[in-house]
Symmetry: C2
Subunit: 232 residues, 2 copies
């Protein structure tokens, strides 16, 4: 198989450490909850919220607004009513300020020398642009579910990257730390690279899905490892 021309990156978990960044923020603003539990609960609401959009139950709704709906629910669940509207709005924007993994920026810079590097995230464009500016992520192009009006794993997202560049699906590779995302991309004909992110779900969670799979073309520890494998 030829090397791909475009690398499309999943973002939450693959590029940035959502769990650690949110837990840090909860500590910083001294919210009286367990920071790891809060981070996990926020993320747990994410797939069900997108599923409501994918099924048509909700009209197109961007992730900022889904994050806010979930935040309001979990604040209620934790019985926290002390936050002002401004404080809630600012907390919701923690998703715009997520921190990259230690290898992320150097790895992306290496990969950018050889490939077109783009995002393929369910995050909205404004969120991804603010995150990139804040964390110095050197994207060639920010692509989002918002562009295709479909959330991953809908095929329109994976195939949309290829058509954006007038490429065949196999000329695009999805880079992600989530196997469901990679399997869906593989089924659309894309190449796939799995990135181990053992601490994506926090320090007390042990991932049991870090083994190789038949549907992944590459399996890398991190982005620097992927750059090394792809430069051979």
């Amino acid at each position: 198989m030829q090397k791909p021309k475009v690398l499309a990156f999943d973002v939450f978990g693959t590029v940035v450490n959502w769990h650690g960044s949110i837990a840090e923020e909860i500590k910083r603003i001294q919210l009286p909850v367990d920071p790891n539990e809060f981070a996990s609960n926020w993320r747990k609401g994410y797939q069900p919220a997108m599923a409501r959009v994918r099924s048509g139950e909700l009209p197109w709704t961007k992730i900022d607004d889904l994050h806010r709906m979930i935040l309001d629910q979990i604040l209620e669940g934790f019985k926290i009513s002390s936050l002002t509207e401004d404080a809630k709005s600012d907390l919701n924007r923690i998703w715009h300020r997520l921190q990259p993994w230690p290898d992320t920026v150097e790895g992306l810079r290496l990969l950018k020398q050889q490939f077109m590097i783009v995002t393929l995230s369910n995050g909205n464009l404004g969120l991804l642009a603010n995150m990139a500016k804040n964390a110095a992520l050197p994207w060639d192009l920010i692509l989002s579910a918002e562009v295709f009006r479909h959330y991953k794993p809908d095929p329109e997202t994976y195939l949309g990257v290829a058509s954006t560049f007038d490429l065949l699906p196999e000329e695009v590779m999805l880079v992600a730390s989530h196997k469901d995302d990679l399997l869906a991309a593989h089924q659309c004909g894309l190449q796939t690279a799995f990135i181990e992110r053992p601490f994506e779900f926090g320090p007390s969670f042990t991932r049991n899905d870090l083994h190789h799979e038949s549907f992944t073309n590459y399996h890398a520890k991190d982005f620097i490892d992927l750059a090394r494998q792809l430069s051979v």
Copy 2:
């Protein structure tokens, strides 16, 4: 009026020198036509082609495909039938390889330190990403008519930049060398900056529209001048 938070740049003519880049390409491939006339004719087909999309006569069609329709027409007009399909396809992609003005990259780097810098171009995403990679344009986000499924000067494009960032229209400034574009943005409530590009239409064309206008908030020689005016 407060300073804007996002600068949205028109691209063809404002950021890159389409006329000079196309004329150079025509010379390079030794097409037996007047290079300046060829460049001018190609661009002349652009507004009418977009008007057919804006009116609904054509379904959504990206600029790459509109450029190709116009190219086929002008090759016929010049009675050139010697180009292979590959050669025509490559020539059409000259729009992906347009060269920036001498101040462009340095000016954008200066402006990027203070503002979110984004494109707002009728060019499609793949075209703009290839151009940015080729010319080292340091965009924070590439926005295009393709995202909004409307061509400028439709209001959906200008207002789309604001909503992408959850901002008010007046928190966004359009930067362009075309007054019709700036007037439309102004009518949507955006701030506006006119950039003089005296040679946009080629060496033998004298622009007579470089004077100040009531609807432009800034009027600058180039991007470095704009950065200087905005840093006061």
